[in-house]
Symmetry: C2
Subunit: 345 residues, 2 copies
């Protein structure tokens, strides 16, 4: 027995209906609402076949069928092949980003909110990441007598700042000179390389021992922390609205997963820099998400780093809608982050 066109259409109808209602769908429903040409009995036979082929599951004998992960996979694949991604709601996404100057954190945060409110699922947005960021500028800003703020600008645009102690005598000008010196010597280095070079520099620049030591300590601490990358989550409460999560225990474990940002980042970041990823149920590799799907898209910055935006929802997700929205949002972010007049990367 093999998959023919009619089976395909019936499967499609079943999936559509299930996505809509969330209730196991029976042969009668399909015959009435979708495939008008056939009687329920015929549909029944086809459904029986589809079950044997692994596309349908039956919660129990006298209930309707629900699509299996395999069915969703097929569904999504044909969806993507056909390029059936509607392009509506473009302007509405833009409308949500009204302000002009924006920090990357704000943008990410906002994006997560917009996506979640547009989709009614949970949205996750990850900041840009990729090859090791390169130093562009190092600057020491005097704050008060004896303390200075370290500002480090990388091509990722991530500013890491921290107070360090400096001797009280160092005035603004001196700090500036040190900064220029440092910038010249370290420009283009990765954080790692900068760390490696510091001991050497400390040797040479005897005078400003204390400053450099402080900076060194700062760098060694920060260099291994791309972990605390920007991550924003929106609409976690949306998931509770779906009957899939009417089980409290499930809901709890899901929410607590959303709270542990580290794990969440691993899950979302996932496989590389593909434009799209759709992981369905078990494909997510996360037991807590056995009946969730994750759809991700990427955006990129001027400097060639990639960020990820993702939606987490029940397996019976409105895939085409979600993919469309993520698509739009990806473009929108890429645009915003590459256009300096509006934002910064």
């Amino acid at each position: 027995m093999t998959m023919d066109d009619r089976k395909m259409r019936i499967l499609q109808a079943i999936i559509d209906d299930y996505i809509l209602t969330g209730v196991p769908v029976g042969s009668r429903t399909i015959s009435r609402k979708y495939e008008t040409g056939l009687s329920s009995a015929t549909i029944r036979n086809e459904m029986s076949d589809l079950e044997e082929l692994g596309y349908l599951d039956q919660p129990h004998v006298s209930a309707g069928r629900i699509p299996s992960a395999k069915a969703y996979r097929l569904y999504v694949d044909t969806l993507l092949q056909a390029g059936k991604i509607p392009n509506n709601s473009a302007e509405s996404i833009q409308a949500h980003f009204s302000g002009r100057t924006r920090q990357i954190e704000d943008v990410i945060d906002r994006a997560a909110q917009v996506i979640s409110s547009l989709t009614n699922y949970t949205a996750v947005v990850l900041g840009p990441k990729g090859k090791a960021p390169k130093l562009q500028t190092v600057q020491l800003v005097p704050v008060s007598r004896g303390t200075a703020l370290v500002v480090i600008v990388t091509d990722l645009g991530i500013i890491r700042d921290s107070l360090i102690h400096v001797s009280a005598e160092l005035d603004s000008d001196t700090l500036y000179n040190i900064s220029r010196n440092l910038t010249e010597q370290l420009q283009g280095c990765t954080l790692q390389e900068a760390c490696d070079r510091m001991p050497d520099m400390i040797q040479r620049m005897r005078d400003n021992d204390e400053v450099l030591q402080g900076l060194y300590g700062f760098l060694t601490e920060r260099k291994e922390l791309p972990r605390t990358a920007q991550i924003a989550v929106g609409g976690t409460s949306n998931m509770l609205a779906y009957p899939e999560y009417s089980d409290m225990e499930k809901a709890r474990s899901f929410l607590s997963l959303m709270e542990t940002r580290d794990k969440l980042e691993d899950i979302i970041r996932g496989n590389g820099e593909m434009a799209f990823t759709v992981r369905i149920g078990p494909e997510t590799g996360v037991p807590e998400m056995a009946d969730c799907s994750i759809v991700t898209a990427t955006y990129s910055t001027r400097t060639g780093h990639h960020g990820t935006i993702g939606v987490i929802g029940p397996t019976r997700m409105q895939y085409s809608r979600v993919i469309s929205i993520l698509n739009m949002m990806g473009h929108q972010l890429t645009e915003m982050l590459n256009d300096d007049s509006k934002g910064r990367s």
Copy 2:
């Protein structure tokens, strides 16, 4: 009829038991577990009195009693009067802050996590706020040809940064000179004052028109945004574990409240700078939190600004434990933020 000592002890016992179990408590339980000297019948009479006085509610006639908000209020008040705040777990809080250099955001975030994991309730931590922050330093850091990063340090320590456009000719030194100039003129101003002065300055410093314009735009946008103050939430999923929230709809509205940071800030920030606040049930003024309590404490920075830490839990919260933990944490934060060698304010 009036409140005597025995009634008080019985009420105490009822509250303790209810906090422990979450189940309406009956006269028999009290007679057996707590007030061994009296029979259940006596307790019953007393409970009947307590109900009449408004300290107990009866979910239905043949169930036990549960404490009313008024009872919790009395309970907490006597608790605070007696100064019965245990001082354990001090070291354990310290242990959770291991790293050295820390950004305020990290500290806040971490604090929320620590509190929520220690209490098993939901924790909210607000960054410092108070009188309008005063400018300390303004610095323009060159990023790439034609763009510069604005770094503004205030006595709140909040660094607001944004890219602005500058003419490509301006090199690092020029930017530095402008920065020094700006710093000299604006030091000690509030953001508002700085905004007011800018037009004047733009007149005078013709040369650097573009830079100042950009800065002006930046300031006007930022000055009204103490709203996006730092706020961190931890352990929202904890609440789902309490039977109070076994109702999905309630849980959802609670979670969605936790997601709208603006409202949340208003709720937590609450009344001024009192060392402690305990708001019980209706006292919170938030309908979604009709059966929640909110306990808050404050911490302060070297510069006299105050931040707030809060715990949100069911009305039958372990008040003494929570208050104790918040107390410790408040001290800990105050200490960390005032000690420059460990953190920065």
